[in-house]
């Protein structure tokens, strides 16, 4: 390999690094919208909006979150868990048909978006235990 090739590769690498401007990160996600929604959402056979919201709050408290915001009209709850790290999470609910509700949660671990399905599975497992209802995948 010639010296010129190595030097120009390093320069190109630096240019690419410099191209990652903060603006680029505003709407950036690693996963597709469909995949994200599918891992972050579950359907529950429930119609009582208030009971669902209150159970979500109780589940978040069981998981060590402090509630930051709650909005019954919009159906969103945001909270933060601090345990040497900061985990922020928003859970939203919306009706699906006459007899079901979709619960969606998205989390941010320190400065990263959580795009790993496992933490969401754990959250929905805890929520379905608290609701005495099964969490179903959105189809």
């Amino acid at each position: 390999m010639s010296r010129g090739v190595v030097i120009s590769s390093v320069i190109i690498l630096f240019i690419f690094c410099a191209c990652a401007t903060p603006q680029k990160h505003i709407l950036e996600t690693k996963e597709s919208q469909v995949k994200l929604r599918s891992m972050q959402s579950r359907v529950f056979d429930i119609t009582d909006r208030n009971r669902l919201l209150r159970t979500i709050i109780a589940t978040m408290q069981d998981l060590g979150f402090v509630v930051d915001k709650a909005d019954e009209t919009l159906g969103t709850i945001s909270g933060t868990k601090r345990k040497g790290y900061t985990l922020r999470m928003t859970v939203s609910i919306r009706p699906r048909g006459e007899n079901q509700m979709i619960v969606r949660s998205n989390a941010q671990y320190n400065l990263q978006t959580v795009e790993d399905p496992e933490p969401y599975q754990q959250f929905f497992a805890s929520l379905s235990k608290a609701l005495f209802l099964e969490a179903q995948q959105v189809e």
Binding site: M1, S2, R3, V6, V10, L13, N50, L53, R54, I57, A58, Q61, D62, L63, G64, F65, V66, V67, D68, K69, A70, D71, E72, I77, G79, T80, K81, R82, K83, G84, Y85, T86, L87, M89, A107, Y109, N110, Q112, V114, D116, E118, P119, Y120, Q122, F123, A125, S126, K129
Partner: protein, 178 residues
């Protein structure tokens, strides 16, 4: 350029890239119920024999104000009050220790300076006669270099006991319009 020289450039570059991609990941159990969660729930919850949820929330808000907290957020239909409090937590002992270290080593060590306590107080009707109140505290502490030194849930049962003993008093005072 010799193979040796190319390696000398490529290996550190590769290691550097590895380090960039090795950001810490979310702990496996961050959103799983911990074995202590039931115990924490007991410590953070008290049950009141009343049906007046609004009165309980008012008494809680009054108590938080008594304790010097400011209310950041509230949503009565969900039974939620969010409050916080900032305080100077400079400790004379810690400052003295830092001065001694500075004298001995010539290097200044930072000491804890401010603390932010966050509290969420949530009411939840259990049946037609009882309402549960659950309070959760977390705190963050920054040192004199503005670095975050603590960021965790407060797990001292005494603090929760004291809060609920004051809440019972606040419920009485609120009920009697004091």
């Amino acid at each position: 350029m010799s193979l040796h020289k190319s390696l000398a450039i490529c290996v550190p570059a590769f290691l550097g890239l590895c380090l960039i991609s090795c950001q810490p990941r979310i702990p496996k159990d961050a959103l799983a119920l911990s074995p202590e969660s039931l115990q924490d729930r007991h410590m953070q919850t008290r049950i009141f024999e009343t049906t007046d949820e609004k009165m309980l929330l008012t008494a809680s808000a009054q108590l938080l104000q008594d304790l010097g907290y400011t209310i950041d957020e509230s949503e009565v239909p969900c039974g939620v009050i969010v409050a916080s409090r900032d305080r100077d937590v400079t400790d004379a002992g810690q400052v003295l220790g830092s001065i001694l270290v500075a004298v001995l080593t010539g290097a200044a060590t930072p000491v804890d300076r401010n603390q932010k306590v966050l509290a969420s107080c949530v009411t939840k009707p259990l049946d037609d006669e009882r309402i549960a109140v659950r309070i959760t505290f977390q705190h963050m502490v920054w040192n004199t270099n503005n670095q975050l030194t603590k960021c965790e849930q407060i797990n001292d049962p005494e603090i929760y006991r004291e809060f609920f003993s004051k809440l019972s008093k606040s419920v009485f005072l609120t009920a009697h319009e004091i």
